[in-house]
Subunit: 366 residues, 4 copies
């Protein structure tokens, strides 16, 4: 469905980096909810470019709700969220528009769209489109929060710097998650945070960029949400995560580390202690595509920002002659600290959609 | 869509491990194709349990096409594929049916389905349902092959044994892929293969199990297939991969290894040599969700088979009392060699669906 | 989605008139339901060919459930329903296979499927595929019945014979509906029934056929089910109704008779009497796409069966030369008495799907 | 999918009658098309309120494209179309907001949305949302026109006044269609037009309203477009038509008139004359859900506008006490002349979507 996703909750995104307006239509949100506009604003702020470690393009990212919201409450009709682009410098892209930028969608889009795509700032492929996703995600998070579900991520690794992983113990985990959600740069260990900032600044100074791995936790999802096979919780969440630009890998629970385990190590033993629980959580809270009540644990890798200032070898879009690309404009030496907010947002949308679909089974109770 | 997936090509699966019949409805396959029944059979054979490294449940897996096929050719109507279950030993599950099997869907399904799920052999959550997926994938592969697209996987790692990765050079890669597709146990390096078999047999002897990582390549997909955001090639393929039981992580191109790279290392430089190419292929053939003409490279982790013979601590489904589970029946000490075929199959279905959707743009040429 | 329909409840059909097997995969039915196999059988019986007014092809239409049903209860997994074809006379179609049958899908399918469609008995376009739809509908009806929802249709007109319309008064209406659901030939007025049978037999004697109009009522749907715009109750139900072969018109409430009314006549005044009600029901129980608690009233026209024995002018499929078509085989002079059951079935599937989607809003109560 | 519709072409609508902004996201339009902005404007003009026979709410309906359009051409990214509401008089609705308006969605929406819907001007249920549909339809029409497909409707009946039906002869039909597309009030016969205007003005003077029947033709669709069963051309088009407010009946070809025909009258004989044709066109260009190359013929009934100035009996939304409703504000005594444009628009969207899906089959040619 291209730019629309979801079963009970539909998200439709549109817009380009240098267009007038970007936005999202969020359909399926129940009526009667007073949106926490302050929270939406905070999420938008967290996603914003910051200091020397981010692009100098500073967008206001003011969220305007044009439909589905009346007298301070959702109406049940589709919520139209608009965000104006205000800080485009389109001229930066004129000069290099025929030089295919490595690791960007320039070439693949050029083939698909026969040369008609908007090249400025990556057009529709821009990370800017994650701004409306963040606003939509904030609304989903608010509903999940009412149900006791919280989501948080931190930067687990950035180049060779490693943060402490989220703890397993629930009370401590909750505190860590809360803290991460209050931070601009979500890193658990303070020294790791300083080291990461240094790594990013160094990359900025070098005209280069870095990526990293995000560790996310979704806490409070009860057992029984998700589907076997095609709408497994993993399928839905990975579908959404891989739609975030720069994501190139997703794992649940122990993920790729399962490869070296034996079954007797990997199997999570069940026990009962004020609820059904597992002693370990290698499966990351999901068995057979369906939640088991344990925390959902996800790791997502964000590749280094493709836009770097270092000269790069590439070819001309039309002549295919070799050319040197010297990127102009304002770019992020790292986006992982910003992508964190987007990852949390799509996770919220995915979990809420699966939850809402699961409600359909209650047809028999009513 | 629960048990149905796809946009232009729809796959609907059904069945349980110990039911009479499992199957798939494959809708959207063009009319007029003489199905390569021999190839379908070969794929089914490759997926079958083998020797000491697999379960002793030996299913005939005879594929019966009951619709959409007439006078030896597809008709354009939905293709109904039925596979009889013939070798169930349901009694094996009677005794332990109330003991929640760790890492299986037993508990999460029990909550979702309120205790009514078919517990025998995992019911609908069984890997048996990948048999019809394999048959459907074989049909997709045949169409892709006509377009010059081939898919192959090998076991990159199994516990601590590592195979040689697929080579980058295309002519050699093609040979490797061809060879892997002819093997029962797809490992490039002969010594690695022997070592892996040993590891698996050792696990079998220990009443334990192992998993591993599959490396897959899709060769021959031209540039321009896929969509930005929600129907990105990565989103669609990961959605399908995570619907395969035991898959817990998926990465494209350099995947999680991107985390330690700088942009200048990670960016794939474009050049022209009888077509647009990139010197490296860290992005695994996909930029911005759309193919760039380079080989699509994917790694998928398969967790160790949850069914192990070693006694395991768990709880009773109803009383929640602690119990020791001693699994009966016939189980695979490893499924990675069989999962390989399923992974190739869903990749074929995903690529064909994206390709077919992309054809819709040709509305303007017609 | 071609042969799959539904949002919370998915129906996937497959099969051909002369294939081995036809069937349906019904996904989304909650777990724990003891299916009323006797009722399914009754519905299949009602849809069957009968006496001189129907085809002499007598199919057993034995429903076999191959998945999603365990120990006498639904499991929550997709329900696979198989029906064997047992009474094909394929030879009847050999001789005339190149003569395009008027009002059938022969020509349009020939273009779409490039000549590869199964021509025998209309192949996938056959009314036989409504047998699995009937089985699926019977399951939906059972769930609706638990919620106090009943569905019934009668033959309102057949050629120039008109039956009495369903009454408006609810207690009497219920009785009429119950009676219609017990009849093989659903006509309210006994004289009208005799006249209709005579009209059909006359058509049979003439080698001709007839159609007619079905009037349907869905009783007991509470207010608030449905969606504005694209998933309006009318949109969903008409979508399903027009997928039934031979349906060429659908209206809700006063339908086409609205054209001659003024607003003051057409508007249904609200009043309260042990619930919110309307004095008239011109809108057929639906306002703005959403149910208002009044009976849902629908009329559906069934065109005369295209297969008639009278010689017909047509052309050769390949040469396009004019030819006379003399249809062989066994055909229905009327299908309206059988279509009635199919119409009820798809209405049940549509209402249940909308109901189940509506449950997703309860995410906020949970 | 609530407010999103389509398979290859997705239409997502949003907005309310008295909100700031209404709009549509149109996704799937191929890249490289210079949009005919003048034509879009003409279509918006035709849909506008006119003279004494329409509401006095005069909206500018200025179409603003905010995405998917660059340097005067479509880019392939979703086209965001925004229309500002400029002429709301919300105060008109304050006084009567608790009086359930008969034949409106007030009550059904109140139940579904638990009282939180935007009541002003019908909120999201307003005919205003058909303005963005009209803009989206105009883009679809432009693409269809390039393929030789045209769509036109006229008012066949309005109360007791009947227009001449569209002629069957193709050259004359084309002229009639062209003429209807140039008219503000689409009536073929001049006297009928004058009579209809008189009927509407009389209704306006009486504080009442009228409806009528639209006859539509889609010309130039080649044979082979559509699907059997659930995505039949009739299913898709009726789905869209019934999503247009006030539509309560849809028929194809002879529609309800089939009821009185015998098969020998109803069957359309095939002949060849510079292409495969049928002598009659009772089936309205569709056999088995798939086009047969003949003109697609549709009739759609539009119920009388529910908003009338005459006092009406109804109940209070909260107390359920009987009250007299005296509607304030500006309302249309008829909308059929405006609905005509919306009907053409959704038909264009439906045909283009089916066409684009059909292209997926060309996977085998490429």
């Amino acid at each position: 469905m291209k730019n629309t996703f979801g079963n009970a909750l539909q998200v439709t995104i549109f817009g380009e980096s240098h267009g007038d307006q970007i936005g999202v239509i969020l359909d399926g949100i129940p009526a009667g909810i007073t949106l926490d506009m302050e929270f939406i604003k905070q999420q938008m702020e967290k996603r914003k470019a910051k200091g020397r470690i981010s692009t100098q393009r500073h967008e206001a990212d003011e969220v305007k709700i044009v439909s589905g919201y009346f007298e301070g409450k959702t109406t049940g009709a589709p919520i139209g969220i608009m965000i104006a682009n205000t800080a485009q410098h389109s001229a930066d892209y004129e000069k290099t528009k025929n030089r295919i930028r490595p690791s960007h969608a320039d070439y693949s889009a050029d083939v698909k769209y026969r040369g008609f795509q908007d090249y400025r700032g990556g057009g529709h492929f821009s990370g800017r489109i994650t701004a409306p996703l963040t606003a939509a995600g904030a609304i989903a998070m608010q509903i999940l929060k009412e149900k006791g579900i919280t989501i948080a991520s931190h930067i687990l690794t950035c180049k060779t710097v490693h943060d402490t992983p989220f703890t397993q113990e629930e009370a401590a985990l909750k505190k860590e998650m809360k803290r991460m959600n209050e931070e601009d740069i979500a890193v658990l260990n303070e020294q790791a945070k300083r080291d990461m900032l240094e790594v990013i600044e160094q990359a900025a100074n070098d005209g280069d960029s870095v990526g990293g791995i995000l560790e996310s936790v979704i806490l409070g999802v009860p057992a029984g949400i998700g589907e076997p096979f095609f709408d497994s919780m993993e399928s839905e969440l990975s579908h959404l995560l891989f739609s975030v630009p720069a994501v190139k890998g997703v794992e649940f629970g122990s993920g790729f580390a399962f490869a070296e385990m034996s079954g007797s190590q990997a199997n999570d033993s069940f026990y009962f202690d004020n609820g059904v629980k597992t002693r370990t959580n290698h499966n990351g809270g999901i068995n057979g595509g369906i939640t088991n009540g344990m925390p959902i644990r996800i790791k997502t890798v964000i590749k280094p920002t493709p836009s770097i200032y270092k000269p790069q070898e590439t070819i001309d879009r039309q002549t295919h002659e070799p050319v040197i690309l010297q990127i102009q404009g304002r770019h992020d030496p790292a986006i992982i600290h910003r992508a964190r907010v987007v990852v949390d947002s799509v996770l919220a949308l995915g979990v809420l959609d699966e939850w809402m679909m699961n409600e359909s089974w209650n047809v028999r109770k009513g």
